[in-house]
């Protein structure tokens, strides 16, 4: 059965007018008008869960509303396929690759099955991430335009896996990467496509002050004292222990609170260990709130971000760092590590503060708490930066521009 996605959408294009402006929305329509009667297909490997599905579930309905003929297909595979692609994913992030040569056969077999199952006849095809990368085998006589969208950090890939994938990637007409540092020396065009957030989603929409207040009350957080917050999974690469250490330095100067909110501890043994370590270093301090939230807590996370005085993202490694984007959108002053995609978003001293250590994190938090008007200006400019570059409307504009450019090239 062909698993073409039929997205339900309650948010409409006109709802974005107050957010990005009427003129900007008019320009999206002008771009889309030139795409009338053209067909687009998006393919990824899951319809729910994960950032890619989340983006496509918003992007595809909005493109349709703009009049673009777009179809979203999801490839299918057994557990053996997804075990292999999970290993690929980790290896492309630089981890060792421990699977056997048979893994490559499994990968190719499922791609071949999906080639036979899916109708791949659109004028513009966008394949998302490594899982369906070999669907390029289904391209007929170099017809249409095929683009590979890589959502992951490819800056330091495991060579075994990258050497296997690269010949497939090179058969595409172009690639899309989230940061210049994720690109490679390739003979095909590599376009810069930032990830995006939806300002009208549960995690980012405006909230009633009463709801924010109720969330703080539920977690017994004092709204009258400064709130420092890091939202992220309990993962060593997010350095929650380092955040607690920075907070303890700040606490010598300011009567503040620390909120560490995220998930990942329940179904991830490593996450559970990290959570235990965080609890250990936080023991005895009633002003540290460690919140292991379930996956359906988007509104609560939104409220915690909006209630925060400063948002921290002290990652040791990072992909793009959409939690930073979310905080900037909420006009929060951000103190974040200069890793991964964070420096694209946080322009030091202009849209936030970049740091490289526990001590630096503590110092910049103290500086912002001492200079609230400067902190407020950072938040305002951060919001503008997100409005220009990292909203779903910008993503739509980029895709439409890419499609028009590709068709012009033809």
């Amino acid at each position: 059965m062909n698993e073409t996605r039929h997205e339900s959408h309650t948010v409409h294009l006109e709802d974005y007018v107050p957010v990005v402006g009427a003129a900007e929305m008019q320009e999206l329509h002008a771009l889309a008008n030139r795409m009338k009667a053209r067909s687009v297909q998006m393919v990824n490997s899951t319809s729910v869960g994960g950032g890619v599905a989340e983006i496509l579930s918003r992007l595809v309905p909005l493109l349709k509303e703009l009049g673009v003929t777009v179809r979203w297909d999801v490839m299918t595979g057994g557990n053996d396929f997804f075990e292999v692609t999970k290993a690929f994913h980790n290896a492309l992030h630089g981890a060792p690759f421990e699977k056997t040569a048979e893994s490559f056969d499994i990968f190719l077999a499922y791609n071949e099955q999906n080639c036979a199952r899916l109708e791949m006849d659109a004028e513009l095809t966008v394949i998302h991430d490594p899982q369906p990368a070999a669907l390029i085998n289904g391209r007929k006589d170099r017809s249409g335009h095929w683009i590979w969208r890589c959502h992951i950090d490819l800056s330091n890939p495991n060579p075994t896996v990258w050497n296997f994938l690269e010949p497939y990637v090179l058969r595409y007409d172009g690639t899309l990467f989230s940061s210049p540092s994720f690109t490679h020396q390739l003979p095909i065009p590599q376009y810069l496509f930032y990830p995006s957030i939806d300002p009208l989603s549960e995690k980012n929409r405006e909230l009633e002050p009463e709801f924010i207040q109720s969330v703080l009350e539920r977690f017994q957080i004092d709204p009258k004292r400064p709130i420092l917050t890091q939202i992220s999974r309990f993962d060593r690469l997010k350095d929650p222990v380092g955040v607690v250490q920075a907070y303890k330095i700040v606490k010598r100067y300011f009567d503040c609170q620390l909120v560490l909110a995220g998930g990942g501890a329940a179904d991830d043994p490593e996450g559970g260990k990290v959570l235990d370590e965080v609890r250990e270093v936080s023991a005895g301090d009633p002003d540290i709130f460690i919140l292991d939230l379930p996956p359906w807590s988007a509104s609560e996370i939104n409220a915690l971000q909006r209630a925060s005085t400063i948002v921290i993202q002290k990652s040791l490694r990072e992909g793009f760092g959409l939690t930073v984007t979310e905080a900037l959108w909420k006009k929060k002053p951000v103190v974040a590590s200069a890793v991964g995609g964070i420096p694209i978003q946080v322009i030091h001293k202009q849209t936030g503060m970049l740091v490289h250590s526990v001590e630096g994190t503590a110092y910049q938090i103290r500086y912002l708490l001492s200079n609230p008007s400067f902190a407020s200006r950072l938040g305002q400019l951060g919001h503008e930066h997100v409005r220009e570059q990292f909203l779903i409307t910008s993503a739509i504009s980029r895709y439409l521009t890419l499609f028009l450019h590709s068709l012009d090239q033809a």
């Binding site: 003129a23 990467f177 540092s181 690109t183 020396q185 001293k349 202009q350 521009t401 028009l404 012009d408």
Partner: protein, 218 residues
């Protein structure tokens, strides 16, 4: 109300960023790359950078100066490059030559600094432009004012900043129309003097609205 013989046709541009294979890890490599990169790359790191960061008026608005400051820590050279005013350039060749000349002089004067490894590489990129007519026009200054009030930043940048590369003049689409279409030479000149570096694009647009309102009168 003066009617222009030719109406002003509003347009806009959308851009795609293409990351090139060319990179620089040292100032000397940047200098070499500047000699080899495309015009679209020079445009991306100067004119287009101004658009991407239009809401900021502090720091450096061109990517070369920003990288030299942030990744190479060479403040003096960064300031020299940032002082190049894009309004003075009607073509990218002159702009490229001036950037290369300043960096070249610096490399010669401080060869050791030019060889220092930067904190992060410079990624040469290109801007691919898709321009779009907006199906909006103005025949009089009053009509122009009404459109300008609601114009997007992208369209304003297209007509006010990048237009000089299309016109090959040290002017912009608006000034040209005020002058040749409406015969308002003084307004054209005052418009062309609006500072796009110390103003955000929005503030520049507000200044232009003010100049026009002064011209129209009460």
């Amino acid at each position: 109300m003066t009617q222009a013989q030719q109406p002003f046709h509003f347009a806009t541009a959308s851009y795609l960023t293409c990351i090139c294979n060319q990179r620089a890890a040292r100032l000397v490599e940047l200098q070499k790359g500047l000699g080899e990169c495309s015009d679209a790359s020079i445009f991306y790191h100067t004119f287009h950078s101004l658009r991407r960061h239009h809401f900021l008026t502090e720091g450096f608005s061109d990517d070369f100066a920003q990288w030299i400051m942030a990744a190479c820590n060479l403040a003096e050279l960064a300031e020299q490059l940032a002082a190049l005013d894009l309004r003075e350039y009607a073509n990218l060749l002159d702009l490229r030559n001036d950037i290369r000349s300043r960096i070249g002089d610096y490399c010669q004067a401080f060869p050791e600094r030019a060889q220092q490894k930067a904190f992060e590489p410079f990624y040469f990129s290109e801007a691919i432009e898709v321009s779009l007519p907006l199906d909006i026009e103005a025949q009089t200054l009053e009509e122009f004012y009404q459109v300008l009030e609601k114009l997007s930043n992208a369209s304003f940048h297209f007509h006010f900043v990048t237009s000089r590369l299309r016109l090959h003049l040290r002017s912009n689409d608006f000034s040209l129309w005020f002058s040749t279409g409406l015969g308002l030479e003084d307004l054209a000149q005052r418009t062309n003097r609006i500072d796009i570096y110390t103003n955000t694009l929005e503030a520049a647009r507000q200044q232009l609205l003010y100049l026009i309102s002064q011209e129209i009168g009460p």
